[in-house]
């Protein structure tokens, strides 16, 4: 892997220069929380942050996305489809979130199905990830095969060494980018590489896997009818916080919103935690209570998704843990199941 150095003194100028060429998304502060938003100037970017509240999946899979608009005028229907996006760049995404893009790719940009708007956004976005020097106690990427400095899903991975970043070139696209922006990147010396290795080792040491997921799929497939699901799900409120804040959750609904003769078809995030999710036209609901829905959530992420796409649909980012109003902790759920 090729490594370069970019000095922190250069970052402002680097970002401002990029803003001229790309639509740049970076972590920004909105009131009391961080999210990935478009920046128009480098000083809007917040680089000293743990992780965003809203995951960056929004940049590729917006919560409310117009698929097309229509208007009806005497005998004629005019359809307006959205324009393709321009070239974009997301700066400062964490390795867990970069990995989540790989997981979303298997659904939206895979071999069998290609979601036009997701593929357009994904193909046109350069991903610059920022490794985690100080993982939070709610992070558990290493329990799921991830790493605070994993390059999976990014084009370039930055390692923060205090005064400078080491930039690891991950993909061909990342390499072309570094060449294109070569005035900002310099060669990396031995002491920087040593410092980088120290930072990486320290972070990894702080994140010994603590969540038992080794045989979770086999266990889950075995305990579908077990009464453990009643106790695990009893306090769940059935809201969509865990779903919307999860970087890998991707279920959606399609609605038609119209007034008189004008309207639009919109794709919106949906959640399996909602009662309506599996409500059939007949009135039957195969997941009638929270118990079935919580069970489904866990089984989807750790069993069905594995069957369908060969990977678990969780990156261990910890957002669901931090934001659940009743502190329903997925780590506890997984450990309880593993110990059953």
């Amino acid at each position: 892997m090729q490594e370069m150095i970019i000095s922190k003194k250069q970052i402002a100028s680097f970002l401002n220069n990029l803003i001229r060429q790309y639509k740049v998304f970076a972590p920004i502060k909105r009131d009391s929380f961080v999210l990935f938003g478009e920046i128009h100037s480098s000083n809007e970017a917040l680089l000293n942050f743990a992780n965003s509240k809203i995951p960056p999946k929004e940049i590729f899979f917006p919560q409310s996305e117009r698929l097309f608009a229509y208007s009806l005028t005497s005998g004629e229907a005019k359809i307006k489809e959205p324009l393709p996006v321009e070239k974009r760049l997301v700066f400062g995404i964490r390795p867990c979130d970069a990995k989540s893009l790989v997981i979303l790719d298997s659904v939206f940009d895979g071999e069998t199905y290609k979601d036009v708007s997701y593929a357009d956004r994904r193909g046109k976005t350069l991903v610059i990830a920022l490794g985690c020097n100080s993982p939070s106690s709610t992070c558990f990427c290493t329990s799921l095969g991830g790493d605070p400095f994993s390059a999976d899903g990014s084009d370039l991975l930055l390692v923060d060494l205090g005064e400078e970043y080491v930039a690891q070139v991950v993909t061909e696209r990342g390499r072309e980018f570094v060449e294109e922006q070569n005035e900002y990147f310099g060669g990396v010396g031995g002491h920087s590489l040593d410092a980088m290795n120290d930072v990486v080792r320290a972070a990894e040491a702080a994140m010994k896997p603590k969540v038992k997921v080794g045989e979770i799929k086999e266990k889950l497939d075995d305990i579908f009818d077990d009464q453990i699901w009643s106790s695990l799900s009893e306090r769940c409120l059935g809201c969509a916080i865990c779903t919307y804040l999860c970087p890998t959750c991707h279920c959606f609904d399609i609605v038609d919103e119209a007034i008189d003769r004008e309207g639009e078809r919109v794709r919106i995030w949906d959640s399996c935690m909602f009662p309506l999710f599996t409500l059939q036209a007949s009135g039957v609901n195969p997941r009638p209570t929270g118990k079935e829905r919580v069970r489904q959530r866990i089984m989807h992420k750790f069993s069905y998704f594995v069957d369908n796409y060969g990977q678990r649909a969780c990156v261990g980012c910890g957002r669901c843990i931090k934001n659940c109003p009743v502190n329903l902790d997925i780590r506890e759920v997984l450990n309880s199941i593993s110990n059953r």
Binding site: S32, V34, K53, Q63, S64, S137, I268, S271, F274, N323
Partner: protein, 316 residues
């Protein structure tokens, strides 16, 4: 707080052993500092899971509607008022619940804690003599617990349960002097344009997770109006009108019933100031009808009754 925990466990154990209840709903220790989590105990050996401290912020009455068991429920002042509301509205019977009332001097707002430490992670937190000691990677701060309480707790005038079968600990002296509508009065004093800007700004953040609705003990409709498709009252996309209407209608649906427990506000993951709406409605209810929700099971729900003296300025 340790004594309250012991008392609660003792009461719970006896209730389960005597088969006075089938289930105890209380709190147990959470997985993060300053958090606890709702706990459902059915066996008397398990009562030692139950705890009580300043992180027990959820309104457990939310778990009562439509249950058929006999339930022992641990309830703060505001929670007991919600239970009264649910009994008034026939969502649970008085006989079904054994209310373990706990006089409460306030719950800690983790959003305020977050702001105090500038979003940095807290590894450990201890409550000691009215102070909260917050420890992180490279800091240790001592903050007055009162400063960290939820806004609804800081202006609370119902610290003591209004209904209970057992009272845990000692009654707390109510502070009759605090003006619980101070923030609302300030909001009312703003111009119409300023109020609209403030409301728009807050509500635009909403991304329809429905945590507010689902955390509320009074939102128990079989089919919520947002999920109705025939007719479809409001859209589901992130359109400002739809978002605003959702919040306005939910606030009106709780008019005369909301006790300002703050559960909606606490559940919101993106810190929308929901109490601006709900508290304003509660103030209007107080001023127009001299009614306070959830004070007695004998009361008739406000909007289910009519009094000839009711204000009628709209009739001209």
């Amino acid at each position: 707080m340790k004594n309250l925990t012991t008392e609660i466990r003792g009461i719970a154990k006896k209730l389960l052993e005597d088969k006075r209840v089938d289930l105890i709903v209380g709190f147990e220790r959470g997985t993060l500092p300053l958090r606890s989590t709702p706990c459902f105990v059915r066996r008397s050996e398990e009562v030692r899971r139950l705890i009580w401290n300043a992180s027990c912020e959820n309104n457990l009455a939310r778990y009562l509607p439509k249950r058929t068991e006999k339930i022992g429920i641990v309830a703060k002042g505001c929670d007991t008022r919600s239970i009264v509301g649910l009994i008034q509205e026939s969502q649970i019977t008085r006989e079904q619940v054994f209310i373990v009332g706990v006089p409460c001097s306030g719950m800690i707002d983790r959003k305020k804690v977050d702001a105090t430490v500038d979003g940095k992670e807290i590894f450990e937190a201890d409550e000691r003599d009215g102070e909260v000691i917050l420890k992180g990677r490279d800091f240790e701060l001592s903050v007055s617990q009162n400063e960290l309480l939820h806004n609804s707790c800081q202006t609370c005038s119902n610290k003591n349960p209004v209904i209970f079968d057992a009272l845990v600990g000692d009654k707390i002296e109510e502070d009759g002097k605090v003006d619980e509508y101070k923030d609302i009065k300030e909001f009312e004093a703003l111009s119409s344009e300023e109020r609209w800007q403030s409301f728009t700004r807050e509500i635009s953040k909403c991304f329809r997770c429905y945590a507010c609705r689902n955390a509320c003990p009074l939102c128990y409709c079989q089919e919520c109006f947002v999920d109705s498709s025939q007719p479809r009252w409001i859209g589901k996309a992130l359109n400002f009108s739809d978002i605003a209407i959702y919040h306005l209608i939910r606030a009106f649906h709780t008019a005369g019933r909301c006790v300002d427990c703050g559960a909606c506000d606490r559940a919101c993951p993106i810190d929308i100031d929901l109490r601006k709406l709900t508290k304003k409605i509660e103030k209007d209810v107080q001023e127009l009808f001299h009614y306070r929700a959830g004070m007695s099971v004998e009361n008739i729900p406000l909007l289910a009754t009519f009094n000839p003296d009711d204000p009628q300025e709209f009739v001209r």
